[in-house]
Symmetry: C2
Subunit: 223 residues, 2 copies
């Protein structure tokens, strides 16, 4: 499948690399590809993202619009705080397509742990669906770190991944992709409003990470 991963951070790179390994035709979307390729840190060294782009020629780096246009399915792996802005650049190029939203509405302006900039009566997943009514938004994977998203077998026991979305067929495509990534316990919570649940789980995720001293954990729903 032709998949566009939007966002070049840790999550976007992990998803792009693994989906490409699995045989999908993957491209990476960013605001300004030339700038992303040449970004350097304070010491003048290429950033991790820039190095990744140069060492993964099988994953072309395109603009958000080009990536969306080229794709059959897209993944929003941009920072939650800029997701709506980034997706604006794809407007018209994702209509009728499935958009996996793996972002979280984290607000780091008050330090760590972050708070949520939308919650309880709304969610980022819903905001994205409302802003792009012709895109088939499915919230998923936002409850675990990037490494477990693409290698769930890193934990010794099966763990749960949640799915929220308004359309059954879009969730079926999502479940198929999650299974390819190795996820076994996939729980469909219902429509996109259930993204409130998984996004509001983040404060517990953050505190559990602090208590355990590792981000390599996930919940399993015991029933």
């Amino acid at each position: 499948m032709r998949i566009a991963v939007l966002g070049t951070g840790l999550v976007g790179r992990a998803l792009a690399a693994r989906l490409s390994e699995l045989g999908h035709d993957v491209c990476l979307g960013t605001r300004d590809p030339a700038a992303t390729r040449a970004t350097t840190d304070a010491d003048g060294h290429l950033t991790e993202t820039a190095r990744w782009v140069h060492t993964h020629p099988e994953v072309p780096l395109l603009t958000f619009a080009e990536a969306a246009d080229r794709s059959e399915l897209a993944i929003n792996a941009t920072n939650g705080s800029v997701s709506l802005l980034a997706l604006e650049a794809t407007r018209g190029h994702l209509d009728g397509k499935v958009l996996l939203d793996v972002s979280n509405p984290l607000d780091f302006s008050g330090g760590f742990p972050p708070t949520l900039f939308v919650k309880d009566t709304d969610s980022l997943g819903e905001q994205i669906q409302a802003a792009f009514p012709d895109v088939r938004v499915v919230k998923t994977l936002n409850t675990m770190n990037a490494s477990l998203m693409v290698h769930p077998e890193e934990l010794s026991e099966a763990h749960t991944v949640f799915v929220s979305g308004n359309e059954r067929a879009a969730k079926q495509d999502t479940v198929e992709l999650l299974r390819q990534l190795g996820h076994e316990d996939i729980l469909d919570l219902g429509d996109i409003t259930t993204a409130r649940g998984t996004e509001m789980y983040l404060p517990l995720w953050l505190r559990t990470m602090q208590a355990l001293g590792t981000a390599s954990f996930n919940v399993r729903i015991i029933r």
Copy 2:
């Protein structure tokens, strides 16, 4: 141990019955014991709570203040929306004692699923600790239904219970009580501000309950 369970709802009754069975000297606190004993429904039948009180003479029903005064350790099992008001009635009677707070800040005024009336930058656990600085508040058990609180073995696999509180000794007493109830995987998240995490998990709990069609489930942290 002399334990006061504050609140006569499903959670309070479950905890009082089980802790009494385990050999503790348990009393139940309510606003108006005479009224609670005589409460009838629309058909003139005693409510479930009133019947419970009559069939559990080993658990005396007292006022909030009497129950608190009689206890070495108390449990806030009142409805979250009235917890601060109910605890006001215990003021001065719980100083220096451990108070397990199992309540949740659920706001049903907009229907189901409820929203949270405090969240993200504060929590009900913190509000209780702030209102009663001499009480040793420990948030726990608020992430599962009443039945699993007192019979965790009802699920076939071990599952996780979280603990949040400012004082190590109070949390040790709590862990001991949780072990007596049968809990095996007990995770200390840190100080009382970590109650934000477990309280904000409720929206995911509610949607998982709807998806599974049962409240008999809990998370286990796989690490």
